[in-house]
Symmetry: C2
Subunit: 253 residues, 2 copies
DNA sequence: CGCTCGATTGAATACGATCAATTACTGTGG
DNA sequence: CCACAGTAATTGATCGTATTCAATCGAGCG
């Protein structure tokens, strides 16, 4: 199917039984029947281009997605254009749950790289709740996990200095990416611009640049190929006074 | 039962069938059988004093609470003492869900006033998911609502100026309080100190004071009896460039 | 080659933090 | 009833971090 608006839908290339993510140690094992249901729940796959808007504030999407591959960010805009990035999405993350449950989306999501998404129909969610309490529990768990990340981000923006914030953010994203196996032999390259970092940390672009530069000069990270790579995650966490993810295995819908 | 640690447990004075909150227009109607289950789910009531810690970061509480009356706030501490207040809890809000789902609490909760809490046992949660998919859905909905509030708070701290932030926070809390009928004939008095506001907005106490003073001088709020009252919510929202809650009826567990 | 986008840098300013008191209010004990 | 202690609010002065303004630089692209 040809792409319009930077997106193209296809039925399925990755049946849930052969999900490339599920075998990762980050994810919990699933019961056979749960996996079977998720497989019927999945309607198809959606490929989106870098820069495309996956979901937009104010819309009532009929769909819910799981990221199969690629990166995105979730953000809100004020009427005068100020932007706040709320969190990042990467493989294994659910996108659009808030909208599915509550109706209207109150934030937007944009792809940071080409992405492949599993598409689910929001209208089948009640069926999931009726017939698969374990999966229902998992979805609540996932919502709670997002809340936990937001708590930590709020602490960061509210109480950390600019340098600590930048260190925290990069360490945080990098830890999450590692957990889903995004590091090959080379370190993960986080595909964001300094403008994204600025809009996440609540700083100006100029000051963000000067702050990032300090991290580079201290050899904690490098900036290349339009993105960021962590060199010394340990010292980044220390600088940020951050305890780390401390996450155990999580469900994958 | 006598109180220790500022808390005292009693069986129940408010059976769910006579819940003082449920009839409020802010809450959805419940099926008879759902109400019956919630009633058995409720173990008793807990009264806590102002200033008492309801749940503490790092603990594994066996309980989950719904606020029947009173105010609390949810916060995180950094090892060096910096505090970030994440959100406020008021009647109808669920407390401790994150901990119930994920094990360890990663934030603390402290009472801002004397409170009365409905006590639920975390270990009965799976039963709720098995037998009451509607309630399970409601709990996810509640988690999503909290996430939505955090999104908005993050936007505020990240992108609003000090004056806008203060205006937003007070308008936000006051709107929520109104929705659960906390206003009699007089406006709601929000029982917080300026230190709480400072720790919510990510500002220093001194600067918070000067900012609040501007709101008072502009006659948008008054400060009295150790708390804050809104005089002109409309202009507060305008000043904050905030769209308002826009919430419809929500579930009450 | 000229264009655009993202990164970078210097300079001037402003917003908010910090330091240091002072004031107002409440509850307590003499 | 008053002195006193403790908490919360308030104010002025100074300092510093982050914003804004204004360029420049470098890489990728048509």
């Amino acid at each position: 199917m040809p792409g319009q608006n930077g997106r193209s839908f296809s039925s399925r290339q990755y049946p849930c039984e052969k999900c490339p993510l599920r075998p990762l140690p980050a994810f919990r094992e699933f019961e056979k029947q749960e996996l079977a249901f998720v497989s019927t729940f999945k309607k198809g796959e959606l490929a989106v281009d870098k820069g495309a808007t996956v979901l937009v504030e104010g819309s009532h999407s009929a769909h819910l997605y799981t990221v199969l591959s690629g990166w995105a960010f979730r953000y809100k805009l004020m009427s005068d254009g100020r932007r706040q990035i709320l969190n990042y999405s990467m493989p294994g993350d659910l996108i659009g749950l808030q909208g599915s449950l509550m109706g209207e989306m109150q934030h937007s999501i944009e792809a940071l790289s080409p992405m492949l998404l599993c598409v689910f129909e929001r209208e089948h969610l009640p069926e999931l709740y009726r017939n698969h309490p374990g999966l229902a529990y998992d979805i609540t768990w996932i919502a709670s996990r997002e809340e936990r990340m937001l708590d930590e981000n709020l602490l960061s923006i509210g109480r950390r200095t600019a340098l600590e914030r930048a260190a925290y953010l990069i360490a945080f994203i990098s830890s999450r990416a590692r957990a889903v196996g995004l590091n090959g032999k080379t370190p993960v390259r986080i595909p964001i611009t300094q403008q994204h970092i600025a809009d996440t940390l609540g700083l100006s672009l100029v000051h963000t640049n000067k702050t990032i530069r300090k991290l580079i000069d201290r050899k904690l990270i490098v900036w290349r190929d339009g993105g960021c790579e962590v060199i010394d995650g340990e010292r980044l966490r220390e600088l940020a006074r951050w305890e780390g993810l401390g996450e155990d295995r999580r469900p994958l819908i």
